[in-house]
Symmetry: C2
Subunit: 343 residues, 2 copies
Amino acid sequence: MAPKAATIQDVAQAAKVSTATVSRALSNPDLLSERTRAQVMEAIKTTGYRVNLAARNLRMQRAGAVLILVPNLGKPFYSTILRGISDGFARTDYAVLISDTENRPLADGELVGNFLDGRIDGIVSLDGGISPAALDQCRHHNVDGRIVFACEWVDGYAFPSIQSDNAEGARLAIRHLYDLGHRKIAHVTGPRGNVLTEIRRRGMLEERSRLHLPARGDWIIRGDFSLKSGHDAAVSILAMDPEDRPTAVFCAADMVAFGLIAGLSAGGLEVPGDISVVGFDDIDMAESYVPALTTIRQDRMRLGQTAAARLLERLGSGPVPEPQEELLPVELIVRDSTARIAS
Amino acid sequence: MAPKAATIQDVAQAAKVSTATVSRALSNPDLLSERTRAQVMEAIKTTGYRVNLAARNLRMQRAGAVLILVPNLGKPFYSTILRGISDGFARTDYAVLISDTENRPLADGELVGNFLDGRIDGIVSLDGGISPAALDQCRHHNVDGRIVFACEWVDGYAFPSIQSDNAEGARLAIRHLYDLGHRKIAHVTGPRGNVLTEIRRRGMLEERSRLHLPARGDWIIRGDFSLKSGHDAAVSILAMDPEDRPTAVFCAADMVAFGLIAGLSAGGLEVPGDISVVGFDDIDMAESYVPALTTIRQDRMRLGQTAAARLLERLGSGPVPEPQEELLPVELIVRDSTARIAS
DNA sequence: GCGCGTTTTGAAATCGATTACATACTCCAA
DNA sequence: TTGGAGTATGTAATCGATTTCAAAACGCGC
């Protein structure tokens, strides 16, 4: 069958040139005369030559791969971001490694180890929960310039990061509910310690007070971005005094909104008839859920593509740009889970 | 800062031995005298040496990576399988590449190209829709022995494959509904052409006729494993004559069941009060959905782990086992979306 | 002290590419 | 004719490991 893969030596021999010439034909065709280049190309075709990446990477002192850190692959939210990232690396010769940080937590030294082993050239982290120790190790070994964050980030570290405008998203959600006549607006937060939890909550509080809306401690319900936590929130809300409970809820994630809606329905409250619900993210399911979910859209594809582009800039030979925070616009998508308040 | 990574040469020098000895200290410690080995280990520690994978892989003629083909990363169903696979490769030094075949279809020759480039050593495909042409190319280049399928498979090709016992799952679902008194049972299928669609449908038909249940053409509704298709199915069912419509529906996937339940509720039918629904897969959401979903559990973790193990066997130096189909047991998980028929 | 088998170790080849440096060749002006 | 600039190509070093083969060291019985 296939006896042995052709090497650059075989091509050189077939084309009656040196290996240097073959190499140049591929990477720097302009250096060669038209005739030799044609010869080489012909030889490449007949031998079925493909460059061996291990050899090239060794010689060029690179790994030829980037690592994507995802908090949890099981959350549909991340898939489009991943697609954007893959997309961004598709025309390059970087392979894309994906690692789920929740299901397989990073061992001590593993992060920087990947660099030191020559396994990866760079990292895109969607996880803002990377331990400071791990990041310090990266800095210590001078590879911190090849890390970018997308979606989440780490407070107190100056890595480049691509973020959606989370605060604005929260404000849009509140304003939308306000415009529909709602005044008593609750919020289901994300998990404690998460950067997105904080920024969305602050944006929401900001807008709520700007509009002089009443605020109550028990209208801020701790969640964790999960379906279950939305359902739990529904239970809390159902337990409140009907005369004095929120008429609308802004959830920090679509999944939470789904759980909430299901829980409210099960408890006899209709969405949006009795209570309006806004999500955050606009994952694919939001559109096909019943009721279709009003939510804040993050441009996840672009988030991923941009992150890839930023990392590529840093991996190239050009000057390394200053670490920078990049804010991507978000958009309010009005669907069927919100309605004008019944007066 | 970090001036330059230590190489095996540096370690050799520090330990006053040859590079061969250093290499042996790591891969074949038994060959060395205790004293030298200790010296080398000490030198490794002080220099902070890490083997360079590109160099090792080049020398050992391997890629050090495997590729996972996933139909669609956005479907939560795959995440646990991926976890199982990662898990299976965690203690090895194979890197795991993940590629989404739906969002980034394989270009012609790309699959085998990954092998020829020395980018990967093997493939685990969760996608049964790989083109015959691509598979033939792999066979032609003699790399077909390093491909295993998990979850799905390709009819007509003798690749090793790990599957859940889909037919049995379908039978379990029907029997469960039967035991609850249901006689008029509908089925929402998967997408046309998918191997899972067929096997689940056949298992369901088999059991339905074994139990002498009435069969009607319009009780088999075409779906595609998506939320939306479940919702569409709900619309069809709501349009049927109330006296003569199914009292239970077996869905080919949990997502379909969710869409169906939402659609039925929106149309005024209660689950499980008016109609019982069984899913397939037992994805994480099934438990926290409202109502919690009765479904057929696939052991996705084990599916992934087993697939990884099978591929590893084939990548090792041992004899290559015969391609084999492996069936993993499934389990009926009874929750709240099914109930005894109201008589 | 010698010979022989066994255990340890080292020198150098090897994997397959890229590239610094040297050389050969072409063309044209002096 | 010669020199110099510029272009095209080749030679050989290099990336950092593993492994073959040979040699050194050791133990031991005579």
